[in-house]
């Protein structure tokens, strides 16, 4: 059954590339149906009967789904669907749509594979699938800025790949396997080889680069801001999360042994990302660059919480262990929430760019009355990003901050609150500059974006509001939201 998450996108890819050429017109609708079905199937997965048939007996990928994986698969389906909607509205020609849909299907294959495998080498292979698709999608329009953004990503991604592949070879040499279980056993042994620890550190550094965390973030603002709108949505929504942060959380839960020193090191990277991203976002003049730095800052929260989990998991005090598990629950929840509200903000910026012809905030103003849906949904996404109740972002940040406080890490908790205030500041400044105030004379004729943008905005805004309002229910359902081993 799980194999279908990898096989179905590949089957769709083959289908839309078969002759006659007329089948290319079906490329985008088919990819959208696939992404939509994935989102629905993930929600229904716990209630679906196990399917055994010729397909499942022929293929054996050894896949495994965890609550974290389920959350990511849902985000992949949702964000890919929205990205395809934006692509349909912005790319125009049939040929370009077919190429875009083909690349998106391969990217979905890569993301689904990375989420479902339980072997570090397989994870690396699927991360490379996503990385190759990302290079091509960033440069999709072939303009100089896009090519520069893609080139920076290629170079830094190659550095990450070298680190990860070198680490994997050392892991194979020392532990004899790259499976999560074998690596966990090798690392947990009292006499774990220093070479294995070094290899794991190298792999985690590679993940930091792929995830665009400060100080490894040099590629991210250029890539996000120069990519076509639909690609920015995909990359900011799920791309970097799957290739960097998901793997980090999975390692923290399933492979790395609890360690206060390791947890503190990860927390330092998370806190640094939070602060650097927020400070840099404060001085940006371009919407997409501001959102890119905001992503770096928000991902810092996830890494900070993962570090808290690692630091507390080995404690003899059950209250600290519980606080660490709460931090991991917050990290997973914030990862999902960020996928949704950051995708929404990128869809908003795409609609503004399409209609006003620029994303330079100095040239914009008063668009709220001319683009009411874009303006209103942008406010919802901005407030959720800043952690304003009762939106989804408030709950995930609250869980992370409470967990940090209960772990005795009050300084980090206060820092997280301060960064939230800064986030509210730069996002409200962006709202004022773009959607409020007087409309510039050259923007008098601007109207709401096409249906593709509006539908995408409404879907994501609805999810942001509903997840926020239904949070107590989601906590009650538990198994979907929280790590399997969490026992609050």
């Amino acid at each position: 059954m799980l194999d279908l998450f990898i096989l179905a996108p590949l089957a769709c890819l083959i289908l839309i590339n078969l002759p006659p050429v007329g089948s290319r017109r079906l490329a985008l609708p088919l990819a959208m149906v696939l992404a939509g079905v994935q989102a629905i199937a993930v929600l229904c997965l716990p209630y679906m009967p196990r399917l055994d048939g010729p397909l499942t007996s022929f293929f054996n990928f050894g896949l495994q789904i965890t609550p974290l994986g389920r959350m990511l698969l849902l985000a992949v389906g949702l964000v890919a669907f929205v990205s395809l909607l934006v692509g349909q509205a912005s790319l125009g020609q049939d040929r370009r749509l077919w190429q875009f849909a083909s690349m998106m299907l391969l990217a979905i294959t890569g993301m689904n594979g990375a989420v479902l495998v339980s072997d570090l080498f397989s994870l690396y292979v699927f991360m490379e699938v996503l990385a190759v698709c990302s290079f091509i999608l960033i440069a999709f329009n072939r303009d100089p800025l896009a090519l520069e953004g893609a080139f920076k990503y290629v170079i830094l991604s190659a550095v990450a790949s070298v680190l990860m592949l070198g680490s994997l070879s050392l892991m194979l040499l020392v532990a004899g396997s790259t499976g999560f279980a074998a690596l966990k056993a090798a690392l947990a042994a009292g006499s774990a080889s220093p070479l294995l620890k070094l290899a794991m550190a190298g792999f985690v550094c590679g993940l930091f680069i792929k995830g665009g965390l400060a100080p490894f973030h040099a590629w991210l603002p250029g890539a996000y801001s120069s990519a076509p709108a639909a690609v920015s949505v995909l990359l900011a929504g799920v791309g970097t999360k799957v290739s960097g942060l998901y793997a980090l959380l999975r390692l923290a839960m399933d492979v790395l042994p609890p360690s206060a020193a390791l947890g503190q090191a990860v927390m330092v990277v998370g806190a640094f990302s939070m602060v650097v991203g927020a400070v840099a976002a404060l001085v940006q003049k371009d919407i997409k660059r501001l959102l890119a730095y905001s992503s770096i800052s928000q991902m810092g929260y996830v890494v900070l919480a993962a570090g808290c989990f690692l630091a507390d998991a080995g404690s003899a005090d059950w209250r600290l262990v519980a606080a660490g598990e709460l931090a991991m629950a917050g990290a997973i929840f914030h990862l999902f929430n960020h996928s949704v509200f950051k995708s929404l903000l990128f869809v908003n910026s795409a609609a503004v760019e399409r209609q006003a012809g620029t994303t330079d905030m100095q040239l914009l103003g008063g668009l709220g009355s001319r683009m009411p849906v874009t303006g209103a949904t942008s406010v919802i996404a901005a407030l959720s990003t800043a952690g304003v109740p009762p939106l989804a972002g408030f709950w995930s940040k609250l869980v992370i901050i409470l967990a940090l406080w209960q772990s005795g890490m009050q300084a980090y908790a206060l820092l997280a609150v301060a960064v939230s205030v800064a986030t509210l500041g730069y996002l409200l400044l962006m709202q004022r500059r773009v959607f409020f105030g007087r409309t510039a004379p050259n923007l008098q004729g601007v109207r709401e974006g096409s249906e593709g943008y509006v539908v995408a905005e409404l879907i994501l805004a609805t999810v942001t509001v509903l997840v926020g309002l239904a949070f107590p229910l989601l906590m009650h359902l538990g198994s979907f939201l929280l790590p399997a081993n969490l026992n609050l």
């Binding site: 590949l10 054996n60 990928f61 294959t109 890569g110 999709f140 072939r142 004899g176 070479l195």
Partner: protein, 165 residues
């Protein structure tokens, strides 16, 4: 002794081919360098008693990937002479640090006394073939690698075919 000399020679040639691959100014020569690097790596993998990895390296990295790259090179324009001269000057600076980095890494390995006497992972068994090993043990990786190759092929079409905007 002669085996050691052969291993050292293959390793030196591998590094030299890799450096030439990334430093040459002509893209086609770079592709040839990549194929040569992969062929040398194949020989090293055979020497390390890893025939399955060697066969895969030879077929995919020395065969299929250069074929995709050559098709991409065929769709690009030739670099002008000034740019070519600049590239040639720049490559000396880029690789000036390489011997220093290699020497530092070797010094660190010796100085830190890193244990390197690991037993190699167990062989796949007497009946193992390329097909059974890849399909039974690394099926997900195989599909992932097919997806990487498909992405590369689509990348050539998306980025290089047709007029640039």
């Amino acid at each position: 002794m002669s085996a050691n000399v052969l291993d050292i020679a293959l390793t030196v040639l591998l590094v030299a081919a890799a450096v030439w691959t990334v430093s040459t100014a002509r893209m086609l020569r770079s592709v040839i360098g990549l194929a040569a690097t992969s062929a040398l790596l194949t020989a090293i993998l055979f020497r390390l008693d890893s025939p399955l990895a060697a066969v895969f390296e030879l077929s995919v990295c020395a065969g299929l990937i250069p074929a995709i790259l050559v098709s991409a090179v065929g769709l690009t324009a030739r670099m002008d002479d000034d740019a070519l001269a600049r590239r040639k000057r720049a490559k000396l600076k880029v690789f000036a640090l390489l011997p220093v980095i290699l020497a530092a890494a070797a010094w660190a390995l010796v100085r830190l006394n890193v244990p390197l006497d690991f037993a190699l992972p167990a062989a796949q068994g007497p009946g193992a073939t390329v097909q059974t090993t890849l399909w039974n043990l690394r099926q997900a990786d195989l599909v992932g690698q097919i997806a990487v190759l498909l992405a590369a092929a689509f990348g050539v079409v998306v980025l290089l075919k047709g007029k640039s905007q």
